[in-house]
């Protein structure tokens, strides 16, 4: 990308600096060269783009994405996930290690980086599996894999059940100051469940996952993070009590951050309604009080990152009796609209919502992007803050269409996405 591009007449939104003002951005050599009111139609540039007063923010950073590559390319490839990301305004996403084979070695982490570089429109960073084959028994080569470029370490959706193994893995990881993510879950309580446990699940005749499956594992993770000194990301917490536990640990000095799946902020258990398999996810949609508590956390800035928890599943794995259907929902293209809808409907401050998908995750990983700053990569998203639309799964760019937002009305629409100053998506 040579030459200068000026995007003018925009509403600039930068959560990192608290900026919310009209102005423009000048892009040079893929970087943000200048920002402010002085960037106008009159600015000298090779390409000039009139933003027509729409919102211009840092491209989104999504800390939790699964593709099917390698091993299940029928679900999603790095290329199709890249397309979906670009359409959703996501300019950087992190892939989970639960692929086939598992991302538990230098070679596989390196493979994802190279493969994504050549086929994906957006930036893709691999995670490293915390244990070999995610078996929860033997730690992976954390130091070497970090050097190979892993963004952080996680056992994905297979929690490390042995506390001794987790303690040693955390302790070892602390030697390298890496971030360890753990989605708190107790398989002995949540195995073979379909939705949140409770009266509604009982009425539907479905096995439910009790919230204590999350609480027990989270309490353990927080204690081990405290004693080992590791930086912990409590991944995809879904209940009020979990958020309380994270905040109280953080207040007492534990290096813990937390993420929440966008769907946990948008849906509650009642949305499973008529046995909708697209709503079968882990962690499950919880009760309304949990959803409200998480939204409150979002307003207070207590949630470090909101993630898409993108988990593509093809029709053959979803069009089944709900007990037999696969877990997971796609989310790359609905991450921003879901949050913008909360801004409209639940009075979440705009910058607070955007922070969890830009500078919040960027700061957790020490990335230069995720902010409108001179010298930062020109990863940008232009969007309409309030445009109403109805999500239709057939319009999604993902190879799999399993979206719980299918048929839902949303506010806010991505118009254009740039990665390193180059347009990677433009709504026709």
């Amino acid at each position: 990308m040579t030459g200068r591009t000026a995007i003018y007449n925009a509403r600039l939104l930068d959560p990192a600096s608290g900026l919310d003002a009209n102005g423009g951005i000048l892009i040079e050599n893929g970087l943000i060269a200048d920002i402010g009111v002085m960037i106008t139609k009159a600015t000298v540039a090779d390409v000039k783009i009139d933003a027509k007063g729409k919102a211009l923010a840092p491209g989104l950073i999504d800390l939790r994405v699964k593709t099917g590559e390698p091993g299940a390319e029928n679900k999603e490839t790095l290329e199709t996930a890249g397309d979906a990301a670009a359409a959703g305004g996501v300019t950087t996403f992190i892939v989970m290690p639960d692929t086939d084979p598992v991302l538990d070695s230098v070679a596989l982490v390196d493979f994802i980086k190279r493969r994504a570089d050549s086929v994906a429109k957006v930036k893709v960073l691999p995670t490293g599996g915390l244990t070999i084959d995610l078996d929860g028994a033997k730690m992976s080569e954390i130091g070497l894999i970090k050097q190979a470029g892993a963004a952080f370490f996680t056992n994905g959706d297979k929690p490390v059940e042995d506390a001794g193994v987790l303690r040693r893995a955390m302790s070892y990881a602390a030697s390298f100051d890496v971030l360890v993510a753990s989605r708190p879950d107790t398989p002995s309580l949540s195995k073979n469940t379909v939705m949140n446990a409770g009266a509604f699940a009982a009425r539907l005749g479905l096995r439910g996952a009790p919230p204590e499956a999350e609480w027990i594992a989270l309490a353990r993770d927080l204690m081990l993070a405290e004693t080992t000194g590791v930086r912990l990301l409590a991944d995809c917490i879904s209940t009020a009590r979990s958020l309380e536990a994270v905040e109280s640990a953080r207040a007492s000095g534990v290096k813990v951050s937390c993420s929440v799946a966008a769907y946990s902020l948008f849906f509650n258990e009642l949305d499973v309604g008529d046995y909708l398999t697209y709503c079968k996810v882990q962690p499950p949609f919880r009760v309304e009080a949990d959803r409200m508590a998480l939204i409150d956390g979002l307003k207070r800035g207590a949630i470090d990152a909101v993630v898409s928890a993108h988990d593509p599943q093809p029709t053959e794995d979803k069009r089944l009796p709900i007990a037999d259907a696969a877990y997971g929902a796609v989310g790359l293209e609905t991450l921003l609209p879901a949050l913008l809808s909360l801004v409209v409907r639940e009075d979440v401050p705009l910058l607070a919502a955007l922070k969890t998908i830009t500078s919040g995750p960027a700061d957790l990983l020490g990335l230069p992007q995720g902010r409108l700053a001179k010298g930062a990569p020109a990863d940008l998203v232009l969007f309409d803050l309030t445009a109403p639309w109805a999500c239709d799964r057939d319009d999604l760019s993902s190879r799999s269409k399993n979206s719980p937002f299918d048929g839902r009305k949303l506010e806010g629409k991505v118009l254009r996405t740039w990665v390193d100053g180059a347009t990677v998506f433009e709504r026709g």
Partner: protein
């Protein structure tokens, strides 16, 4: 100092020894180095005395070193084949001790896999007991031989910056060495991944590092520890190659220590895991074979010193308050 009366009946650990105790042993050790380098290596100070080697854990070099030390001092040396003995037949540790005690040995050298086992035995016998390594607790003669090796090279250990690197958590050598070097006034550093750093190691009188380059900065001596194979299988460490990459001593990492820094290893070494071959064999800087030589000398010093302290022979005592 030659007249200093070593005040201990046993040598169970470095813990509890003062500077004078240690220096007395080192000085005597120095003299035995000279003897060992002469053609006739005999001193008859232990003539007529019986030294029993009781190794509950396999050992080649320490057991051999004590045997040679005992023989050079003129003692009758017996090494009990524990692996095939009555211990295997179910005899308790205390019964074994009582049985041996009845044979009236004068010096008992014990290695045992459980921390504290040597101390337990010392309470049940009448002779002097020397700890040749108990579990992950202490290995005092190793620390003394290391101190002797360094001292002969640098003169005064006081003020030296000495790094101990590797599996500190499971190392009795590290525990004894930290205690010994501290008493002698060295600045001790421990360098290890967090999984192999004992909790509270920062309170041992040593500064703890995870980054080897940072830890080696300004060090005069680098002591590497042996990494047991079973630690490398994913529980404490992901792999031998990752350990070598971050904590194995190679030319590059060593360049962060002082120029000419000495290299030590208690052996046996895993070449290519905790130490690069070229460094282990370095002509001027590696003291590894010298450590083995000092081992015999310092054990002679220990045996002689404790034999001198033995009480008059009487009836075997009821046991209870030795030390």
């Amino acid at each position: 100092m030659a007249d200093y009366a070593f005040p201990h009946r046993h040598l169970l650990g470095i813990e509890g020894l003062n500077r004078l105790d240690i220096e007395t042993l080192l000085e005597l050790g120095d003299r035995y180095v000279e003897l060992n380098r002469s053609r006739v290596k005999h001193a008859n100070v232990l003539a007529g005395q019986t030294l029993v080697n009781l190794f509950f854990e396999n050992s080649t070099r320490t057991q051999g070193s004590f045997e040679i030390a005992g023989r050079r001092l003129g003692a009758d040396v017996v090494t009990m084949p524990i692996a095939t003995s009555s211990v295997k037949k179910g005899e308790t540790l205390i019964d074994t001790a009582m049985t041996l005690n009845a044979m009236r040995p004068d010096l008992l050298v014990i290695r045992h896999g459980s921390s504290g086992a040597v101390k337990l035995l010392s309470r049940k016998v009448d002779c002097a007991v020397i700890n040749a390594g108990d579990g992950t607790h202490e290995h005092p003669t190793q620390a003394l031989l290391d101190a002797l090796t360094i001292r002969r090279r640098v003169g005064d250990i006081g003020g030296m910056r000495i790094a101990i690197c590797g599996d500190i958590l499971h190392s009795r050598v590290a525990r004894s060495n930290v205690a010994c070097l501290n008493v002698l006034g060295a600045e001790v550093r421990l360098i290890a991944p967090r999984t192999l750093t004992p909790p509270g190691a920062g309170d041992w009188g040593a500064k703890v590092f995870t980054d080897m380059r940072e830890g080696l900065k300004g060090c005069d001596v680098v002591m590497m520890l042996r990494l047991q194979q079973e630690r490398m299988d994913g529980a404490y460490l992901p792999s031998a190659r990752e350990f070598f990459h971050f904590w194995g001593l190679d030319e590059e990492k060593l360049s962060h220590a002082n120029p000419g820094a000495f290299i030590m290893h208690p052996g046996p070494m895993n070449r290519g895991v905790e130490i690069e071959s070229g460094i282990a064999d370095h002509k001027t800087r590696s003291l590894i074979t010298e450590q083995v030589e000092m081992g015999v000398a310092i054990r002679m010093a220990v045996l002689e010193t404790l034999a001198r302290n033995a009480p008059e022979i009487g009836a075997p005592k009821a046991g209870g308050k030795n030390r």
